[in-house]
């Protein structure tokens, strides 16, 4: 098993309703709730206490762990409390509640970093607070901390293959030059000879914008990706852009590649240029019941209900609110949760869109097998999961599944395949621990 020559996937409706819309900055809300765990790795410890005055860009949470990203205040105001509460990841976590004063004064620490060496650059990448903004939220400082010269491809992910989401598209059109500057900085300090920017073919204007800016630069290429989901998945985009395979247990590094999302590169470049860390997030607000679907720039920690309110509110009671795209995003049970660094979309649907269809028996049609970009056999894995057969699950390489949901999307029996595989993966991990 493994990667086939031409990776499969599914054709999903693009539904890019907000394409071409500018990114509108949202006014600062009354209160923000900044969670201390917005990245993969160790959660941060709060550095402020109730009553403290904070300014935009001030460090309010940090960790000593190797994999971790510092957290900065997205607003100016007073710390109201440090609370324990549910975050959008479904876990109880520490959050800092800041009452804003609306002045949005910048902290004194917001000055462009001085970079003279590789170590300085890594420190800057860490201090920027940037995490993988494509959704994985892996800290940028840890991702770039490799031996310079060991990687020969930097793959920039501008695929945005999920339906509805258009922020990366808007970012690529608005900040083309900044993104290219960010790419050049990474290439310079990590001594990466080549960069490939992967953009899905449904965004010809973004491809043109990059080609215009890059005119004559041979080390950075733009690669047009096929319009098929999931082209933006890490392993898929590496294969599509460089032809290299990243099998299970391998990191992109082992294949000589580093993948970064366009928004992550942009936020890093903003920090290098201005010293302002990641304090706001570009987000698409869409869905069939949002009054004014649009792209907004939201301070990190804003309540999701405030963001929806800014977009005109909802036409009717939502049946489902999804953070992220409809394929891989997570549904949330309530809207009083804070926006995190890695959020890229808030989608609200009514019952007509988000209703659940009845599950029927598997007819062994094999559509899931044809759809899986990783070349797995979802129907077989599903059966092994129901039998709780860990050995079979391992044999069918369930750990190779990246949870893209293509199998569940095409399944005529409407089986919740990828939800099952998430359980199955946990089961295999649990068994291998014993």
């Amino acid at each position: 098993m493994g990667l086939t020559k031409r990776l499969s996937g599914v054709h999903v409706d693009h539904r890019k309703n907000t394409a071409g819309m500018p990114i509108i900055p949202m006014p600062v809300p009354e209160k923000v709730y900044i969670p201390m765990s917005m990245h993969i790795g160790a959660p941060c410890k709060p550095l402020v206490k109730a009553g403290d005055t904070v300014k935009v860009g001030q460090l309010i949470g940090d960790t000593d762990a190797r994999i971790g990203a510092p957290i900065h205040s997205s607003v100016s105001g007073t710390v109201e409390a440090v609370i324990q509460g549910m975050t959008q990841l479904g876990k109880t976590d520490t959050s800092i509640v800041i009452k804003t004063d609306g002045k949005q004064e910048l902290a004194d620490t917001v000055v462009p970093p001085e970079i003279n060496s590789f170590e300085d650059f890594i420190k800057a990448a860490r201090d920027s607070g940037v995490v993988g903004l494509g959704g994985a939220s892996f800290p940028m400082g840890a991702k770039l901390n490799i031996k310079p010269g060991t990687v020969d491809y930097l793959v920039i992910n501008g695929a945005e293959c999920e339906p509805y989401i258009t922020v990366d598209h808007a970012v690529m059109l608005t900040y083309t030059r900044d993104i290219v500057d960010g790419i050049k900085a990474i290439m310079k300090w990590l001594q990466i000879p080549n960069t490939i920017i992967g953009i899905e073919g449904n965004k010809p204007d973004a491809i043109k914008a990059f080609n215009d800016v890059l005119a004559g630069d041979a080390s950075i290429k733009v690669h047009e990706l096929r319009q098929i989901y999931p082209q933006g998945a890490e392993r898929v985009i590496i294969y599509e852009c460089t032809g290299r395979k990243v099998s299970y247990g391998m990191l992109p590094l082992n294949a000589g590649c580093i993948v970064a999302n366009v928004s992550s590169v942009l936020k890093l470049q903003h920090y290098l240029k201005t010293g302002l860390p990641l304090v706001s997030k570009y987000i698409t607000v869409d869905g069939n019941i949002v009054v004014h679907p649009q792209n907004v720039e939201v301070p990190v920690g804003t309540m999701i209900c405030d963001v929806i309110e800014f977009c005109g509110g909802l036409k009717e009671e939502p049946k489902k609110i999804v953070l992220g795209g409809p394929m891989m995003g997570r549904a949330i049970p309530r809207d009083d949760l804070a926006v995190m660094k890695a959020n890229s979309a808030i989608l609200c649907f009514n019952g007509a869109f988000a209703g659940q269809r009845k599950e029927t028996a598997c007819i062994s049609c094999g559509r899931c097998v044809a759809a899986c970009p990783m070349g797995l056999m979802p129907a077989k894995i599903s059966r092994a999961f129901r039998d709780k057969d860990v050995e079979m699950l391992k044999e069918y390489e369930v750990l190779y599944c990246m949870d893209c949901g293509s199998c569940a999307y095409v399944c005529p029996a409407r089986k919740p395949l990828n939800f099952e595989f998430r359980q199955a993966k946990a089961m295999v991990m649990e068994a291998s621990k014993k």
Binding site: M86, G90, K319, P333, R334, Q356, P416, Q423, A426
Partner: protein, 276 residues
């Protein structure tokens, strides 16, 4: 001579030769079976629950029947005293008493007491539901109610009624399979003689619990004051009973304003249940 005689003779001859072969095979290829083991195995209930600490009933029987075995004869909780006495008789030892145990669900959040927080659409198992914001219920510590315990119980002793798993104490043998399966870890296995239980495990603060569930422990400590044996204490915002100190007096249950301390009637002598 009739024509059918030949096939009949041939068939009889083949049968004779085959039976001879089988008899020889049984003689020379037989695996020696420990008769004690077989006898002991017959006395065990056959649930293969693992409460004894062995891989199943066969494994336990084999361990008991071994020459010079020091394995105790009273480890089979489902088999209770009857099985222990029978095994002891086979092995010629003194009968040991089995501490009968029973499962107890530490939640009383029935459908009319608490409300679901979300319209959960995923796979209908507790383990899967728990991965989604800790479960569909408003209280994140209580019974999820998809019946993972019910599916795993070999005796049919636990059942989800009105949103919360309920143990049939007359059928439950305390094997512990449900307790090991429950993703919320709210099933306790306790000695059958203990009849007073706190049916709540919420670690939320009292005010929060009160808002989420009308049948939740709010940690008011009235039970602590009522108890004369220092057996009940509020930890993690809910009351916990120390079974070693509890004397089944039920004073705490009378003092509880939320009625989350349940007192069960006296245990009955359980018949041994055989499975399969």
């Amino acid at each position: 001579m009739q024509a059918f005689i030949y096939p009949v003779i041939i068939a009889i001859a083949i049968a004779f030769i085959a039976s001879l072969l089988l008899a020889l095979a049984a003689k020379f290829m037989s695996v020696p079976v420990n008769e004690t083991q077989v006898k002991i195995r017959e006395q065990l209930p056959g649930a293969n629950c693992g409460a004894c600490g062995f891989a199943g009933c066969d494994d336990y029987a084999a361990a008991l029947a071994e020459e010079g075995s020091t394995v105790k004869t009273n480890l089979c909780v489902p088999g209770a005293d009857a099985a222990a006495a029978a095994i002891a008789a086979i092995l010629g030892q003194d009968a040991l008493d089995v501490v009968e145990q029973v499962a107890n669900v530490r939640c009383s959040g029935l459908c009319d007491a608490t409300k679901p927080e979300m319209d959960y659409q995923g796979i209908k198992t507790c383990a899967a539901a728990k991965t989604m914001f800790g479960g569909p219920g408003a209280c994140k510590y209580g019974c999820i109610g998809f019946g993972d315990c019910q599916k795993v119980c070999p005796y049919g002793a636990i059942e989800v009624c009105n949103g919360v798993a309920k143990v049939n104490r007359e059928v439950c043998v305390g094997c512990g399979l449900c307790a090991a399966t429950c993703p919320q870890h709210i099933i306790d296995i306790i000695p059958d003689v203990k009849r007073v239980f706190v049916a709540c495990s919420s670690a939320d603060k009292g005010a929060v619990t009160n808002k989420l569930c009308s049948a939740g422990c709010i940690g008011c400590k009235l039970c602590e004051k009522a108890c004369k044996f220092d057996a009940i204490h509020v930890e993690d915002n809910h009351a916990k009973i120390d079974p070693d100190k509890c004397k089944n007096c039920g004073l705490c249950a009378k003092a509880c304003p939320k009625k989350v301390i349940h007192v069960y009637p006296k245990p009955v002598v359980k018949p041994m249940v055989k499975v399969g």
